[in-house]
């Protein structure tokens, strides 16, 4: 990464390139999920019948999933705190916890999908299930992306040269921002699909 010494202080925005880049990427992600939510609302208003979350889906399992994702948000913030204090052991522990929790989320998701597929319910069953599978599927892909990034950071904490790199904290913060965004999307997705 380029270490830019600050001789354009008057024209630099004060925010590191990496953080500004991550926030802009999150901006485009907000537009992506805003479109999906608009689709959900438009299709729901035009639908002839829209099942109640408790009838069509397994809400207790999803509540567990929400708890898992929220705790993974906390563990990644703890990892950032440990990286801030240059405590590599703490960082590795909390980042490992984040990865385990995100795998847990995917496992619970797999159970849910498997249960529905076994009953022959698929995206083509009804518009409700189409919206459900598409939105949770896309969210799941974002979770997998997050897992890849987080595991890369965990690996980098093991090699000395990357752990000492001045911008490593910025990378952890960037991964954290992305992960919190994925958590926020689930916070909106959970009531929209399951509870209303």
């Amino acid at each position: 990464m380029t270490t830019i010494t600050m001789d354009n202080a008057d024209t630099h925005s004060g925010i590191t390139n990496a953080k500004l880049g991550v926030w802009l990427f999150l901006a485009s992600e907000v537009m992506l999920f805003a479109t999906l939510f608009t689709t959900y609302i438009v299709l729901r208003m035009g639908a002839t019948s829209w099942p109640w979350g408790w009838d069509a889906l397994n809400v207790p399992l999803a509540t567990l999933n929400t708890a898992i994702l929220i705790s993974s948000s906390v563990t990644i913030v703890m990892a950032y705190a440990k990286a801030y204090d240059k405590n590599v052991g703490g960082f590795r522990f909390w980042m490992l916890m984040t990865l385990l929790l995100s795998f847990g989320f995917l496992v619970v998701k797999a159970f849910e999908y498997g249960h529905e597929f076994a009953l022959g319910i698929g995206p083509s069953t009804s518009v409700f299930y189409a919206v459900y599978f598409t939105m949770t599927g896309l969210h799941g892909i974002h979770i997998i992306g997050g897992i890849i990034v987080n595991s890369a950071l965990l690996y980098m904490s093991y090699c000395q040269e990357d752990w000492e790199h001045p911008l490593f904290l910025g990378r952890v913060e960037g991964a954290g921002l992305y992960w919190h965004f994925v958590d926020i999307v689930w916070i909106f997705l959970f009531p929209a699909l399951y509870l209303l």
Binding site: T5, M6, A9, H12, S13, G14, I15, T16, K19, W23, L24, L26, A27, E29, V30, M31, F33, A34, T38, I41, R44, M45, A47, T48, S49, W50, W52, W54, A56, V59, T63, A67, I70, S73, V74, V77, M78, Y80, A81, Y84, L119, G120, T125, S126, P166, L167, L169, G170, E173, L177, H180, F181, I184, V185, I187, F188, P191, A192, L195, L196
Partner: protein, 153 residues
Amino acid sequence: MAKSNDARAHDDHRPDVRKYMLVFGALLVLTCVTVVISKFHLPRPQAITLGLLVAVVKAGLVAAVFMHLWGEQKLVHKVLYVVAFFAAILILPLLDLRMVVSRITERMPVADQHPDEGAAPEAKPEAAPAPAPASAPAPKPAKKRAKSAPKNG
């Protein structure tokens, strides 16, 4: 603050572990609250506003504390305001559908009240043998739901 690109020097988001744990607890509690509320199966408008309110509070907590948006620089806030404005524009397709509902041939039955209050829910056979009891026709959706796109994602 010295403007250098090393994230630690000028990003004085000194992590405060106690605050993180507090927010963690609050999020778990709010999740349980929203699940319990939905169990009551309130009529449509109340359910939507309550569910949305809790979701916005939770998202706000995550964004402000975990994503350090509270003490963040003005430029990031500006980026988020711009995004919120453009995401809000996506409301117009909903507006269009509200006005065009009269033209859609496969329209919502006119049952306006909640399925449990009286309207005999004629069992609409799900195409596949749905496990849950055949879903009753959801009543006509209430006022347009506020934009639930994650505003401060």
